[in-house]
């Protein structure tokens, strides 16, 4: 007998989170709760200069005046911000020259994830700055990068070693009072990555960071700052997996990208944090602020494949400030079981002849809710601005929802904006056609979903495309992959 839809559904439900394991590394954790003393303690612990401490405190004070946003199409139990520990770091802060010195248990974790540092170093030419529970524990390829003048390090290190750059740019794209979660992050961010590409330099390799949430009850507050100086180019990869945990974990990262004149930043994300189990228990809350600023002729391209998290709230955005600047957003968001995703982008056209493209593919299965929310804003001085948006939704089963909330605001008569959205399902005739060619239903669905997502998958760097395809299959099909 053929694989019935019922059987498929069942299998989807029972599909366990493949990367659900927990690394037992001794951690140093702060007492739970948040107040000015904790903020100061974090800053002190990290040996930060006083301007940074003050910056954090301002953010904290602003945060206490703010309210959690309610507008997203998600429902969840609000985190108790006083029940979270805001700092956790592996006890022995290691300084390694080679991987041999790294805690073997950590290496084992990466092996389970399929991330072999050695392999990545040798084969893919990817420098990996591994962030394990907020503190950077291994940085590679620094030498090659240093020769080109590229700085790629943890943000803590950057605060100490390159304060002039950090001071100038941190909070310049996402102000510390931007929104509730950005303010929280600004107050308590533990670590993250910093990257600076000097004038005219083309970064010779894909820069990559893997994030993981590990310590139970530890909020993760990453801070990433990427600066591409005039005429430079960088492709940055961010990949995330998290171990299985019962209680919800909060993740409120901030990513700021600065593309100066003629620079280009390509920022790709594959996110498969623990989405909760089939009853909707557990899973990561992902409330992220990602934003890039484009100066004249600059280009920022966001590509994301989101398959994880219980609740996602994420809008990688571009402020097209400079004339002729370009913003792109390519996204695949998969939700299954009880996952909820409210994700999209904002394209703010300020400069003349600015161009933006939005391609969003949402795939909903199980009892999940998948929303696209996007803003295209054409300022009155943004002559000849162009936008093209396409939002396609694919529904699998009759328990899930797909929603599209585009906001389009135009104040310039020369603007050209096109927005299209469609909703469809996988046709039974498509499945039968595949079956007749010897492809079983499960594989057929994978094939069709891949086809549906292709425009976005094509935008990923090779190293990521394979992993992303694998993730799509894992998230939707159970046994395949």
């Amino acid at each position: 007998m053929a694989y019935t839809e019922e059987e498929l559904k069942k299998e989807l439900e029972t599909k366990e989170y493949e990367y659900g394991f927990y690394t037992d590394i001794e951690s140093e954790t702060f007492p739970v709760g948040l107040n000015e003393e904790i903020v100061k303690a974090i800053s002190l612990k990290k040996g930060e200069p006083s301007w940074m401490t003050e910056w954090r405190l301002e953010a904290y004070r602003a945060w206490t005046e703010m309210e959690e946003p309610e507008w997203a199409n998600v429902t969840y139990k609000k985190p108790d911000f006083q029940a979270i520990s805001y700092y956790s770091a592996p006890k022995k802060k290691p300084q390694y020259d080679s991987l041999d010195e790294v805690d073997p248990e950590l290496l084992d974790t990466f092996k389970k994830l399929g991330i072999s540092l050695e392999e990545q170093k040798k084969l893919a030419g990817v420098a990996v700055d591994v962030v394990m529970d907020s503190v950077s524990v291994a940085t590679t390829f620094k030498k090659t990068l240093a020769e080109k003048g590229i700085i790629f390090c943890s943000i803590s290190e950057a605060i100490k070693e390159h304060p002039e750059l950090v001071k100038k740019y941190i909070g310049s794209v996402v102000p510390k009072k931007d929104n509730f979660y950005a303010a929280l992050n600004s107050a308590v961010f533990s670590d993250g990555s910093f990257c600076y590409i000097p004038k005219g330099v083309r970064c010779p390799m894909e820069l990559s960071t893997y994030f993981r949430i590990n310590q139970a009850g530890t909020g993760q507050f990453e801070r990433t700052l990427v600066i591409a100086d005039e005429g430079s180019y960088v492709s940055y990869l961010e990949g995330c997996t998290a171990p299985m945990r019962d209680e919800n974990q909060l993740h409120a990262a901030v990513v700021e990208l600065v593309a100066l004149d003629d620079a280009e930043i390509k920022y790709s994300t594959v996110q498969n944090w623990f989405p909760g189990d089939k009853e909707g228990k557990g899973g990561v809350f992902n409330f992220v602020t990602k934003r890039g600023l484009c100066e004249t002729n600059a280009k920022i391209s966001w590509t994301q494949v989101e398959t994880g998290s219980a609740v996602t709230w994420k809008y990688p955005s571009c402020i097209l400030k400079g004339d002729n600047s370009v913003g792109e957003f390519y996204s695949i968001a998969v939700t299954n079981n009880y996952q909820q995703a409210d994700t999209g982008t904002k394209m703010i056209h300020l400069g003349k002849n600015t161009k933006s493209t939005i391609i969003s593919k949402g795939i909903s299965a199980g009892r999940s809710q998948n929303s696209y929310r996007g803003l295209v804003q054409i300022n009155s001085r943004a002559a000849n601005a162009r936008n093209f948006s396409q939002c396609d939704s694919l529904l699998m089963g009759n328990q899930c929802g797909a929603h599209t909330f585009p906001y389009i605001e135009a104040k310039n008569k020369t603007a050209q904006i096109e927005h299209e959205a469609t909703t469809s399902k996988i046709g039974e005739d498509q499945i039968f056609y595949c079956n007749q060619r010897g492809i079983d239903t499960e594989k057929a669905i994978a094939l069709i979903v891949n086809g549906f997502s292709k425009e976005v998958l094509n935008k990923l760097p090779m190293e990521f495309a394979v992993e992303a395809q694998k993730l799509l299959e894992i998230s939707l099909e159970g046994s395949v992959g």
Binding site: M1, A2, Y3, G427, D429, Q430, F432, Y433, C434, N435, Q436, R437, G438, I439, D440, T441, K443, L447, I448, N450, G451, F452, S453, K454, E455
Partner: protein, 250 residues
């Protein structure tokens, strides 16, 4: 090769096939003709295992093995190929990727390794030349925006790649101009050998000028009412179906 015994099938509770008997031996070409609504396409779908149709009686056997309870992909693995009358579009999936998946899934089912990339490429080149298929065509999304002729040619190209034991061509001639018809027929003839068999389902005799059948069957109201050699097709072309209907009612 294919043996159909007293096959009855329903769609949505309505009986469409009312006792079909058919015996196709290796190396043979059979044509099944009949007016619209006689059950021709239903027969093709039932052999391929489309679950919209329910077999209520009788059986379909491939090389002596009953197919009734097998899933469509299992039938495909055993060598059943259906050239669809209306091939569906699968956006974003290229012809090449689709074929690679189909071939490797079939090999996997047979316990074989995946086909090596160079072998696959060689085979694609060879078969696409046979059907005069442009390289660019292979990287287009499956059937999306294809003309009627391109869709049918693509079906036969897939048949060439998959090398089935039993190929059922459902109205493959519809929507084809004469040049495309010749290419398709030539492709089918070149693929034909003593080990495989072809069932051609058609409304018109036109295709049978190029794919010459050993046997012609007339399907009427869910039953085969007349069988004969290739001359029967010519007779039908000339006289239409009415005389058969009369003969059948008498």
């Amino acid at each position: 090769m294919l043996k159909i015994e007293n096959l009855h099938a329903n769609v949505e509770g309505k009986e469409i096939l009312k006792g079909i008997n058919l015996d196709v031996k290796p190396g043979e070409v059979h044509a099944i003709m009949g007016p619209n609504g006689s059950g021709k396409s239903t027969l093709a779908s039932v052999i391929a295992g489309n679950e919209d149709f329910e077999i209520t009686e009788g059986s379909v056997l491939l090389e002596g093995e009953e197919l009734n309870e097998l899933a469509p992909e299992e039938r495909a693995h055993k060598g059943v190929f259906l050239s669809f009358q209306y091939p569906v579009e699968i956006p974003g999936v290229t012809v090449t990727n689709f074929l690679k998946t189909a071939i490797n899934e079939t090999r996997k089912a047979k316990g074989l390794e995946e086909m090596p990339a160079n072998e696959m490429l060689k085979k694609i080149r060879e078969k696409s030349e046979l059907l005069e298929i442009d390289r660019k065509f292979l990287s287009r999304s499956l059937n999306e925006g294809f003309s009627g002729g391109e869709k049918k040619r693509n079906e036969i190209f897939q048949m060439a790649m998959l090398e089935p034991k039993l190929a059922i061509l459902d109205e493959t001639d519809s929507g084809l101009d004469i040049d495309a018809l010749k290419i398709v027929a030539n492709g089918v003839n070149r693929l034909k050998n003593d080990e495989n068999a072809v069932v051609v389902i058609t409304h018109y005799q036109r295709l049978l000028d190029y794919i010459v059948p050993d046997f012609v069957h007339v399907l009427l109201n869910g039953k085969i009412v007349k069988s004969g050699g290739k001359e029967l097709a010519l007779e039908l072309e000339e006289k239409g179906y009415d005389w058969i209907k009369q003969e059948a009612t008498v």
